[in-house]
Each structure stands twice: as structure tokens, then as C-alpha cells.
């Protein structure tokens, strides 16, 4: 079998702080990491590889040259090959445009049995690239996959997570699955895996390599644009409620409702 895992390198959003004086994002020293859900997708692929010897797991990403670091991490976890789509022309892409470029990259990689990817990336939290990629490649899809029950000859049976439970879904193969963190616990790299990852070559492909028109990628091909961005207003000083016990309780609940916290 051949599984292609699409991953993204993202800034660790837990480490991002807002400068209290200027109200801007402080990205100095914020580490770039392999997107957490993508690590689950890779783990799912590696488990299939463990179960079906002879399976190849190839990792594909789009991003700046530094994204090779996340790809090396994937190799160190056990992926066989890694490929990076990188070009100035791909820059500023929204999810729609990203999925187009990835689709060209996947086509260049050739035949496969599955594409796995994480449910969403923590920098954008959109969860859109997976389904969009599936549509572009004409693949059936299952999002929010929390388990594979059975890999059959022509289909796969998965558990698709919903808010109040899960569906058991049979999906034709080949297909694209997006992974949630509940699916598995990603394995650690190994020291020897890291050593080997740095002995491998990671091909870097630009628009010419994958045969995409520059008008069809990056910012040019993005229907959505960022109109403006701003930091959410800082938390003001707290408020001590007053009145009788019942008045205070009422007013607390009302305030929480008003701010949509409840």
C-alpha cells in the first residue's frame, strides 16, 4: 500500500504571547512545530505500515524551505520519503489555493491508496484544506476520523467523530481521511530515526516541477483575502458585583450570557 500524509509546519500557538504595550503578536523565539493533528495522521499511516509490511508512507507539505524541519521530524518518526512544495509563487495562499497546489503535488507523486491529513492546523484552525483537497482530486472523504475499523479490499470502515458520538462509515478507496487527536498517540521519534532523517534527501518542488500555472497558486488564486487583522482587546480589570446574593447571581449569569461565555 502507499499512503500519502499531508502535513504542515506551524508556529506553536501556545507559545505566542501578545506584547502588552504594543498589542502585537510576539513571535520571537516561538518554535515551529509539526502541526499536532498532522502528527496523528502520520501515526495512523505508520500503524498501517506496521500492520502491512511493504507499505510506503510518503509525506507532503507546502511551505517555506524551513518546513523541511517538520518533514525531517516525520522521517524521524518513520516516514519513508518526504517532499516539499515551496516557491514564492505559493505564498499568501488561502485554504482554497493551498488545496489546489497540494493536489498538483499529489498528482506528481502518482498512485496511492490513502491520503491522510490532520483535521486542522493550529495556526488557522480552519479544517478546510483536507476536504478541499479531496474535492479537487475527486476523492471520497471522511473527516474527523477517530479510528479505522477495517481496511477492506475496495473500501475502508472508519469511525467519524461527531459532537455527540460517532458514525461508522464505509468509504470507497482510494480516499482521504482527516485525523483527530483522539485517534492515536503519535510515537516519539528515535535517535537513530533522526540520524537517518538527515541522511535522506527531501525533494523541493516549485510551480514548474508540479506543472501549475502561477495564476492558479498562492495569493493570486485565493478567493478570500485578509481585510484586516487585529489583536483582541486585552482583558480589563475585573468587576466586583454588588447587591443581594440573588441579584449578584442573576447579574453574573446575565453577564456571562451577554458575552456568550455560557
Amino acid at each position: 500500500m502507499r499512503i500519502i500524509v499531508c502535513v504542515k509546519q506551524v508556529p506553536d500557538t501556545n507559545e505566542i504571547k501578545i506584547d502588552p504595550l504594543t498589542g502585537t503578536l510576539m513571535r520571537d523565539g516561538v518554535p515551529s512545530i509539526l502541526n499536532p493533528d498532522d502528527a496523528n495522521a502520520l501515526e495512523a499511516a505508520l500503524r498501517i505500515k506496521d500492520e502491512y509490511p511493504g507499505t510506503t508512507v510518503d509525506v507532503l507539505s507546502m511551505g517555506p524551505a524551513q518546513a523541511c524541519y517538520a518533514l525531517r521530524e516525520c522521517l524521524a518518526m518513520g516516514a519513508d520519503n518526504a517532499y516539499l512544495l515551496s516557491s514564492r509563487a505559493f505564498g499568501g495562499a488561502d485554504t482554497c489555493s493551498t488545496s489546489t497546489t497540494l493536489a498538483y503535488g499529489v498528482r506528481k507523486l502518482g498512485d496511492f491508496d490513502f491520503i491522510f491529513t490532520g483535521r486542522q492546523a493550529i495556526d488557522g484552525d480552519t479544517a478546510q484544506v483536507g476536504p478541499q483537497l479531496a474535492q479537487r482530486l475527486g476523492l471520497p472523504i471522511a473527516t474527523y476520523v477517530q479510528n479505522i475499523r477495517e481496511v477492506k479490499e475496495k473500501t475502508v470502515i472508519v469511525e467519524r467523530q461527531l459532537e455527540d458520538g460517532y458514525q461508522i462509515l464505509e468509504v470507497n478507496r482510494p480516499c482521504l481521511l482527516t485525523a483527530v487527536k483522539e485517534w492515536n498517540e503519535p510515537r516519539y521519534m528515535t535517535v537513530i530515526g533522526i540520524e537517518n532523517a538527515y541522511r535522506k534527501e527531501i525533494p523541493v518542488w516549485d510551480e514548474k516541477d508540479i506543472g501549475i500555472d502561477v495564476q492558479d497558486c498562492g495569493l493570486n488564486a485565493s478567493p478570500t483575502k485578509v481585510f484586516r487583522s487585529f489583536t483582541p482587546p486585552p482583558k480589563g480589570k475585573g468587576e466586583i458585583l454588588s447587591g443581594t446574593v440573588s441579584e449578584m447571581a442573576q447579574s453574573l449569569v446575565a453577564k456571562l450570557m451577554e458575552k456568550h461565555i455560557l
Binding site: 524541519y69 516519539y188 535517535v191 537513530i192 533522526i194
Partner: protein
């Protein structure tokens, strides 16, 4: 020192592992029970931490001393006792076999050791001679194909759950007239091998230490490691790496003490200001950070010297001496910043303070390091 991407990834592996596996609940439990969870030991082996420098053909990871130092540093930053489990197979016990063992011995012992299936401590120190290791009282007397071992090894880390132990013993004078010390690998199940009482230690709780007592233990000559009479030299070579390991431990713990000091100084208010806003505290932190940084440079330099095949004795000794000393200093200052809270169980600094105390003592005290360093410099 600017680390290449590969070593950053090694650091990430070790840090992710330490932060995820060695949670404060687990570490509290280790502290209470004195037992380090076996499943975490297995996971460390699986991640490759037990055989970082061991060649791939013996089941190891084929990496180098810098990767080893970084791994130990990151584990120690979360748990000093945890880093001891990484240190042991990579430095003392494992190193002896790696540098002096036969091909057969390497296959037999290294593979199960790096996979975490067997534990092999390093039996050098004796009750009568700690720093003065050459003054060996344990004897091995030839008897046909066997040697009869008698003596007592003391403060042997991991002895209580060891499968084998490297034991250094006096095999009589060499032709040169100098005392001949020979290295044996002793199966702990052999008749005549027994353990002393488990020590109650000030720190590093969770890695049992005891004496190993040898009474007429018959060890086959095939279980000699290296040349007869050449054991002391091999032991000293192992200690080079062992010192690098302790230096890396010291560095990790020192970094943790600094981290805790910074964190606490930003949480705690006195006289209407955060602690870090008091210059007396801010300057202490500046001092600590500078020393930790200097220690890091010495430790990595020692590792790289070793990897490049240079004479690492001087570099390892300096790294171990400096890092262990400043670790104790930084721990004391960090505890001071914590005030009364630092003196009671519950805050991490209390454990760090106890754990690091032994760093200036084991694998050569600071005073021995001074002897080694000055000896190297002055050619004595």
C-alpha cells in the same frame, strides 16, 4: 554554540519525551515510593536513549556524544533521576564493554542493554577508596579457567536491580611491578554475589543504590573485559564519558533551577512589586543565567571534542567540574528566591536542590577534577 538542525531535533525529542512522560504526578510518586516506573524505562529504550552512541550493529542508534549530552540535559531538566537511567547504559557500564569488550561480548551484552532488557552498573568504588580508585581491595585469584573474586563495591547505582555488573578487581602485580587491575563482567545471579542494604539518599530518589558484595565468586575467564591488568586504564577512559554525562545532568538541572527562579519571580509579589522587579532578585537571575550559559558551552565543547576524536579528558573534567559546581550554586540561589516555599515539599526547586548535591561528588569529586585538570595542564 549554534547547534545544527539535527541536534535541535534531538533536543525536541528528549524535551517532548521528558515533558510528556515525566509529569509532576509521576515524579511525586517516584519520590514517595523510591521506584522509577519500568514502563518509562522501556519507553526511553525505545526512543533510543539507552544506546545513543552505541553503533547500529549492536542495536544502538549510531549517534554521537553531542546528541548524548543534549538528551541527558533535557531529561535532567525535568527529572535528574530520570537522566540517571539514560546516563548509565551510555557511559559507565555500557562504555566498558564498548571500548574494551570482544565482538562476542558486545553482541551478548550491548543489544539487550540498549533495548532496556538488562541493567549493567559500574563497580569501581570501594568502601575504603572512593576518589583513590587505584587503591583496589577487591581481588581476583586465578583458578584454572576461573577467577575467584572477593571484595566489596560501594555506592553502586542500580545494583539492586542489576542483571550483570562490571567489576574491577586486583589480579596481582603486572611484570612492570605496578598493580594490575582487571575488568570482569559478573552475573549477579552467580553464587557468592550479594547486595548491601539499599542506601537512603538525600536526592536522586528513585534509582536504587547499594553495595555489591563478592564472596568467592567464580567468574569464567571469558568474562574478562579487555586485557588482564589493564582495567584501570579502561575505567579512566569510561570516566571521561561518565563525567560528560554528569556535566550534562548538572547543566539540565541548573537550567531547571533557573527556569523555576524566573517563573516564580514573575508570580510572587512582595512589597507591592513582583520579585523580578526587585533589583536584588533580578541581578541574582542575571548571574545564574550567565553561569548556566557558560556551563552549556563547556559541556557541548567537551562532547564535540570527544566526537572529533580529540583528547577529551581535560574538556570533560572542566565541564563536569564547572557545571556541577554552578548547578549547586544556581540551585541554592533559586531556592533562596523561592523563600520559605522553596524549603518545603511541593515546589520543584526543593527536589532539584537535593538532587544536584551529588553532582560535585560522584564520578570524581570537584577536587579530583581539579587534580585532573591541573595534571593535564602542568604535565604532572
Amino acid at each position: 554554540m549554534q547547534l545544527s538542525e539535527k541536534y535541535q531535533l534531538i533536543r525536541k525529542l528528549a524535551r517532548d519525551f521528558a515533558e510528556k512522560e515525566l509529569t509532576s504526578e509521576i515524579l511525586d510518586e517516584v519520590e514517595d515510593t523510591g521506584v522509577f516506573p519500568v514502563d518509562i524505562q522501556k519507553k526511553m529504550a525505545k526512543a533510543g536513549f539507552y544506546g545513543i552512541k552505541v553503533p547500529e550493529k549492536y542495536g544502538g542508534q549510531g549517534s554521537d556524544h553531542l546528541a548524548y549530552a543534549i538528551t541527558v540535559e533535557e531529561i535532567a531538566r525535568v527529572s535528574a533521576v530520570g537522566s540517571l537511567y539514560v546516563n548509565s547504559p551510555n557511559s559507565l557500564g555500557g562504555m566498558t564493554i564498548l571500548i574494551a569488550g570482544t565482538e562476542e561480548q558486545k553482541q551478548k551484552y550491548l543489544r539487550p542493554m540498549v533495548e532496556g532488557d538488562i541493567v549493567i552498573p559500574f563497580g569501581l568504588t570501594e568502601p575504603g577508596g572512593g576518589s583513590d580508585a587505584a587503591d583496589m581491595r577487591t581481588t581476583a585469584v586465578k583458578d584454572g579457567d576461573y577467577y575467584i573474586l572477593n571484595g566489596r563495591k560501594t555506592f553502586i547505582t542500580m545494583a539492586p536491580f542489576a542483571d550483570y555488573s562490571v567489576i574491577y578487581a586486583d589480579t596481582g602485580n603486572r611484570p612492570s611491578g605496578k598493580k594490575g587491575i582487571t575488568t570482569f563482567i559478573v552475573d549477579m545471579k552467580l553464587p557468592g554475589v550479594s547486595l548491601g542494604k539499599e542506601e537512603q539518599k538525600l536526592g536522586l530518589v528513585g534509582c536504587a543504590t547499594s553495595d555489591i558484595i563478592l564472596e568467592d565468586v567464580r567468574v569464567h575467564k571469558d568474562d574478562i573485559i579487555g586485557e588482564i591488568g589493564e582495567g584501570f586504564k579502561d575505567a579512566m577512559r569510561c570516566l571521561d564519558v561518565g563525567r560528560l554525562g554528569v556535566a550534562a545532568q548538572s547543566l539540565g538541572v541548573a537550567q531547571a533551577c533557573l527556569d523555576e527562579a524566573i517563573k516564580y519571580s514573575k508570580e510572587r509579589k512582595q512589597f507591592g512589586k513582583y520579585l523580578y522587579e526587585h533589583q536584588s532578585i533580578a541581578f541574582m537571575i542575571a548571574d545564574m543565567a550567565t553561569k548556566v550559559k557558560a556551563a552549556r558551552e563547556l559541556v557541548y565543547d567537551a562532547a564535540v571534542t570527544k566526537d572529533n576524536g580529540g583528547n577529551s579528558t581535560l574538556a570533560s573534567s572542566m565541564a563536569k567540574y564547572y557545571a556541577s559546581e554552578i548547578c549547586n550554586e544556581v540551585a541554592a540561589k533559586s531556592l533562596q528566591i523561592h523563600g520559605g516555599y522553596g524549603f518545603v515539599r511541593g515546589f520543584k526547586i526543593e527536589r532539584l536542590y537535593r538532587d544536584c548535591r551529588v553532582f560535585t561528588i560522584y564520578e570524581g569529586t570537584s577536587q579530583i577534577q581539579q587534580i585532573v585538570i591541573s595534571g593535564q595542564l602542568l604535565g604532572r
